[in-house]
């Protein structure tokens, strides 16, 4: 298969999913989008090599995560995201449950959040997470346990029917008003 076609197919099948995973890791949709897109640009620059990788998606995820946590990139990404957000349409409504989850995830440490997402969303095992993050399996287990513990009081087991959706901007306005 020609390399451009292969790349396009890979991009089409994985980009949306990776934005979802990065959003869960960063808590910021625009930042997740920009980091994922930047990772794909870098992948294209090395495509003949990356094409041969067993798990290309993991490569993109790791690079995008590093981009998003890099302090300098973060500042630049925020600026880009700000410009981009001003050009783009408002993202669709997010339900209060998901909003609660995003704010709960933001409250736990970044490495814990990463392993939580890799384990519960991506479905990786402890060993696979250790390989992807470069941390020992024991550390991964500890981060997972601490992350779960920290999230427990913040994330409710949903039993009630979902309430009407509201926009994030409205939610933050309300929170400010209450404060």
């Amino acid at each position: 298969m020609p390399k451009a076609e292969d790349f396009d197919q890979f991009y089409a099948t994985t980009s949306g999913r990776l934005v979802g995973q990065l959003f869960a890791m960063t808590g910021d949709l625009h930042e997740a989008q920009d980091a994922v897109q930047e990772a794909y640009i870098r992948a294209w620059q090395r495509w003949p090599r990356i094409q041969e990788y067993h798990d290309r998606e993991a490569w993109i995820r790791t690079v995008a995560y590093r981009i998003s946590v890099n302090a300098w990139s973060k500042a630049r990404n925020r600026l880009t995201a700000h410009h981009r957000a001003s050009r783009q349409a408002e993202p669709p409504e997010i339900s209060p449950d998901l909003l609660t989850l995003v704010s709960a995830l933001r409250k736990i440490a970044e490495p814990q959040r990463r392993v939580i997402v890799l384990h519960y969303l991506v479905g990786l095992s402890i060993e696979e997470i250790a390989a992807e993050t470069g941390a020992p399996a024991g550390t991964v287990k500890a981060r997972l346990a601490r992350g779960r513990k920290a999230l427990a009081p913040l994330v409710s087991d949903r039993e009630e029917p979902p309430s009407p959706s509201i926009r994030p901007a409205e939610q933050s306005t309300e929170a400010t008003a209450h404060a």
Binding site: D8, G16, Y40, A152, S156, R158
Partner: protein, 187 residues
């Protein structure tokens, strides 16, 4: 909590992937290709514009009117055999090989193998000996490159005292094909 967390994270990811506004794959590729081109162009500029001029000349010969990122970023299948690769451009730029030098060497009619042999012969000479262009040509002719008398004359005319050893080594390393040399000679 495990299942609930899994479900909620999955909903969160679905929301994000559904709301994501990503560029098309073609736009992403174009961005990457342009960036690579800029980086390589920047390196060439830092190292000296000679090879960049050579690359430009060859690209211009191969695709009249086509210069810049889009021409360089074209898939290998559509690239002309006369077009320099990024590696060749970098090697030539690092040695400050000018278009005139490559064209002169190309006009001497040397093959890729002969240029490689010449590079080995030149590298074995002392700096003082390297200044003697004819001596270099003779050594190359006699021991390594098997030059014909006509090639030896053309080579000695090409060589300039003291300024070709590094460039010949770079040309040998770049392993320019006959098509690339012919394109340069014509250019």
């Amino acid at each position: 909590m495990h299942d609930s967390l899994r479900t909620q994270l999955s909903e969160l990811a679905d929301y994000a992937s559904g709301s994501a506004r990503l560029d098309t794959p073609a736009a992403v590729r174009q961005h990457g290709t342009r960036r690579t081109w800029r980086r390589r162009g920047g390196a060439a500029a830092l190292l000296g514009m000679g090879a960049a001029a050579v690359a430009g000349a060859v690209v211009g010969t191969a695709h009249p009117g086509a210069t810049g990122p889009d021409a360089a970023g074209a898939p290998p299948s559509s690239a002309s055999p006369a077009q320099l690769t990024a590696y060749q451009t970098t090697v030539l730029a690092a040695a400050h090989v000018t278009k005139a030098q490559v064209a002169a060497l190309a006009r001497s009619g040397l093959t890729t193998a002969q240029i490689s042999a010449l590079a080995v012969a030149t590298a074995e000479l002392t700096p003082a000996q390297q200044k003697d262009a004819l001596l270099t040509a003779r050594i190359a002719a006699g021991y390594l490159a098997r030059l014909t008398p006509a090639e030896r004359v053309a080579l000695s005319a090409t060589l300039r005292p003291g300024d070709m050893a590094q460039q010949i080594a770079a040309l040998a390393k770049a392993r320019l094909s006959a098509a690339q040399l012919a394109a340069l000679a014509a250019g």
